[in-house]
């Protein structure tokens, strides 16, 4: 009898507690009534170093709407300020839950201290860290504002561009999270490198990459150098072209095995970079093109390509050193091996003068179905 009364009392307590829980739906927000910011762009204004132009796009689901994407733009000091403004004009509340792409104009990147400017993006856990970061040549607004008729919505187009590019080994994607890690790592000897895009007639072109020191852009490398950087760092496997006389070879790395070994020699910092490439020959034409089934010709060509690539790599690393940007993470490797030395010196002073030795070995593993 007593237990049943007890049970009755507890049951009632549960009912009351559950009823109390039922009072509100605080965080319920219906999906199609929210505005999802999928991409955003930041442009600089020349006459005011503190002001920026923020642009955002959100997909439109309203029936009979002629445009697929809503584009809003405003001048503001910070992303949050712009965000607040968008909420005031958009007619719906905007969320960055599914943020896909952040485009930064070159000038903004050069102005620097991006991390502090993006504080809002990193502080709010709702904002997706998966958004890709791109540096745009030309204004970001122009890119976001264009409706590429034969492409998907702009944000998804850009995302696919990067993701498929990564699958093809043509680009190393950088998202907000990895940018932050790399930029923070600047003191430990690693810098971010962010792909750059440029608007063409009816498409967007990945064109080289922006070099950063910390969270400030310090220079850029062109498409070719970016290709070499990707192979050198093992982060991609883009096709390289080699011209010899009248012959042109298209070489696609199949596997890349790299090792970077720091050492100290006579008070100098030396990095030995070994690159082992196994490549497919995808193209070989011209009058003087070698017969690849001939072992000797093949070996000759392999040595030539290795020599050529070594020169290219050295040029690229030289350029990186000139900008004092370290996207290869050489400093980090040095720190891992010579932690005490690293903590005593100012790495930024030593990096441009560090000696870099590159040793390239190339092996052709396949030349298709033609000799």
């Amino acid at each position: 009898m007593r237990t049943s009364r007890m049970r009755f009392i507890t049951l009632n307590i549960f009912l009351i507690l559950t009823a109390l829980l039922q009072v509100g739906c605080w965080d319920t927000a219906i999906i199609e009534e929210k505005g999802f910011i999928l991409s955003a762009g930041i442009d600089a204004i020349e006459d005011d170093p503190e002001m920026y132009i923020f642009t955002m796009t959100a997909p439109v689901f309203v029936e009979l709407a002629t445009k697929r994407v809503e584009v809003l733009s405003t001048r503001a000091h910070s992303p949050l300020e712009a965000f607040v403004f968008f909420n005031k004009v958009g007619g719906r509340l905007y969320f960055a839950d599914l943020f896909q792409v952040l485009l930064i104009n070159e000038d903004v990147a050069i102005r620097g201290s991006l991390l502090t400017k993006f504080d809002f993006v990193y502080r709010d856990p709702k904002v997706s860290s998966l958004a890709y970061l791109l540096v745009s040549q030309g204004t970001a607004k122009e890119i976001l504002d264009t409706d590429f008729q034969d492409k998907n919505r702009i944000a998804i187009y850009l995302t696919n561009l990067i993701e498929e590019g990564a699958v093809g080994g043509l680009v190393h994607p950088v998202n907000l999270q990895s940018f932050r890690q790399a930029a923070m790592d600047s003191v430990h000897g690693r810098d971010p490198i962010v792909p750059m895009v440029r608007k063409l007639e009816n498409s967007i072109h990945i064109d080289g990459a922006a070099l950063f020191r910390g969270d400030t852009m310090v220079g850029k490398i062109n498409e070719n150098e970016y290709t070499h950087f990707l192979i050198l760092s093992g982060k991609g496997f883009p096709t390289v072209f080699y011209h010899r006389g009248e012959a042109t070879y298209g070489l696609r790395p199949q596997s890349i095995r790299n090792s970077i070994t720091p050492r100290i020699m006579d008070g100098n910092i030396v990095f030995d970079i070994k690159v082992n490439l196994a490549v497919n020959v995808d193209q070989s034409f011209g009058n003087t093109a070698s017969d690849l089934s001939n072992q000797k010709h093949k070996e000759n060509l392999e040595a030539e390509v290795a020599e050529f690539l070594k020169g290219e790599f050295l040029k690229t690393t030289k350029k990186l050193q000139e900008f004092n940007s370290d996207p290869l993470g050489l400093g980090k490797r040095f720190r891992a091996k010579y932690y005490r030395v690293f903590s005593e010196i100012d790495w930024r002073e030593y990096y441009p003068h560090a000696e870099i030795n590159i040793d390239v070995k190339v092996k052709f593993i396949s030349h298709g179905i033609i000799k």
Binding site: M6, I9, T10, I13, F14, L17, T18, L20, L21, G24, W26, D27, D97, P125, K126, S128, S129, L130, N175, Q177, S178, R180, Q181, A182, M184, D185, S186, V187, H188, R190, G329, K332, R333, R335, A336, K337, Y339
Partner: protein, 364 residues
């Protein structure tokens, strides 16, 4: 008689593994890497966790040794037997307060995490009741149900560790190198800083009389503690590889931040899902401390039924959990509770065992 004994021995020693691990793994792991990193271990935080695991193992050994002297009694019973009524009562009361505080602060911490990460507008009291209501329900169902619950939850949630593989792949091993550059004092203070994450084994002091095979208790508790240690070390190593050392002090909950980069073609932002799963683990932790505090109260003032004391305890825990003003205070108190747990789990067995041996020696 047989039935009575069966009624007493409700937890199998196998289930104790999951009880210990389930109570240990709570909210502590969410900020584990930052806490150990900041305490001075740096990227060698995993060494601190290893040391903390070892400390916990010693505490388990002491506690089980104390319990095996009074196999059919809980701490509340024998503390007055050893220390005398007043001192024993005082000790029991301290322990009760500690359990209460732990239950309250853990559910509050989790409520804060929930509010920051997913349910921004939901008021804190409601979020606290999200963990307190299942806990209340669970302990009203009895300790047997609690043991089974802990086990089912651990079976349901162990795979969450696998999600760490993706950030592990995305990270850079260079972040963790060089290994072993942290000074020893830093590692020791990191080990002590993990106390909130490691506590939970001290509940054996109360569970012991309910366990069926007493000789396996030490083994089970050690395995449970070992599982926790492995999970923590895996978590910390992943975080160390994923985060740039310069960024770690900025991250409030690195273990959740880690998961933000996970993306599948059908699902992304796994941290929301993991956080929801985490509710189950936090319920085990809160229910464990809740049970301990209600049980202590029940034994301490000789209440008529355990259920009554559980119901009485509910509003007390709820109010105590509402006392901290903001999240900084919550973190502060959480750390203090962790330290208190560490101190208690060493001082209780040492104190009681010493007094007992002294008494024995004198009576000889």
């Amino acid at each position: 008689m047989i039935q009575q004994q069966q009624k007493q021995h409700q937890i199998t020693s196998f289930q104790l593994i999951f009880i210990v691990a389930g109570i240990q793994i709570g909210v502590g792991i969410l900020s584990l890497y930052r806490v150990t990193f900041e305490a001075g271990a740096g990227t060698d935080a995993w060494m601190g966790v290893l040391l903390a695991w070892f400390i916990a193992q010693i505490a388990i050994f002491l506690i089980v040794h104390l319990c095996s002297i009074f196999p059919e009694d809980s701490l509340i019973d024998y503390s007055s037997k050893i220390l005398g009524r007043v001192l024993g009562w005082l000790l029991s009361f301290t322990v009760l307060g500690y359990f209460l505080g732990a239950a309250a602060i853990i559910s509050r911490t989790f409520a804060e995490v929930l509010q920051v990460w997913t349910l921004q507008k939901t008021p804190i009291p409601v979020l606290i009741s999200l963990t307190l209501i299942p806990s209340l329900y669970l302990i009203l169902l009895g300790i047997k149900a609690f043991a089974r619950f802990a086990m089912v939850i651990l079976l349901l949630t162990w795979w969450l560790l696998l999600t760490l593989v993706i950030p592990l792949k995305q990270g850079d091993i260079l972040n963790m190198l060089p290994i072993g550059h942290a000074p020893l004092p830093g590692i020791i203070s990191a080990a002590l800083a993990t106390s909130l994450a490691m506590i939970g084994y001290e509940l054996i002091l109360l569970f012991y009389p309910f366990i069926d095979r007493k000789r396996d208790v030490l083994l089970s508790a050690s395995i449970g503690n070992g599982l926790t240690g492995l999970a923590y070390i895996f978590n910390v190593v992943t975080a160390a590889i994923f985060f740039s050392p310069a960024d770690v002090p900025n991250q409030m909950w690195p273990s959740l931040q880690l998961l933000k980069v996970i993306q599948f073609s059908f699902l992304q932002r796994v941290e929301s899902i993991v956080l929801s799963f985490w509710l189950l683990l936090v319920v085990v932790t809160v229910a464990g401390y809740y049970w301990a505090s209600a049980f202590s109260l029940y034994k301490l003032i000789n209440m008529k039924s355990f259920k009554l004391s559980a119901v009485v305890m509910a509003p007390i825990i709820f109010i105590v959990s509402l006392l901290p003003r903001d999240i900084n205070q919550v973190t502060d108190i959480g750390d203090k509770i962790g330290t208190a747990g560490l101190i208690l789990s060493f001082s209780i067995p040492i104190l009681l065992l010493t007094v007992r041996y002294l008494k024995k020696w004198r009576s000889k």
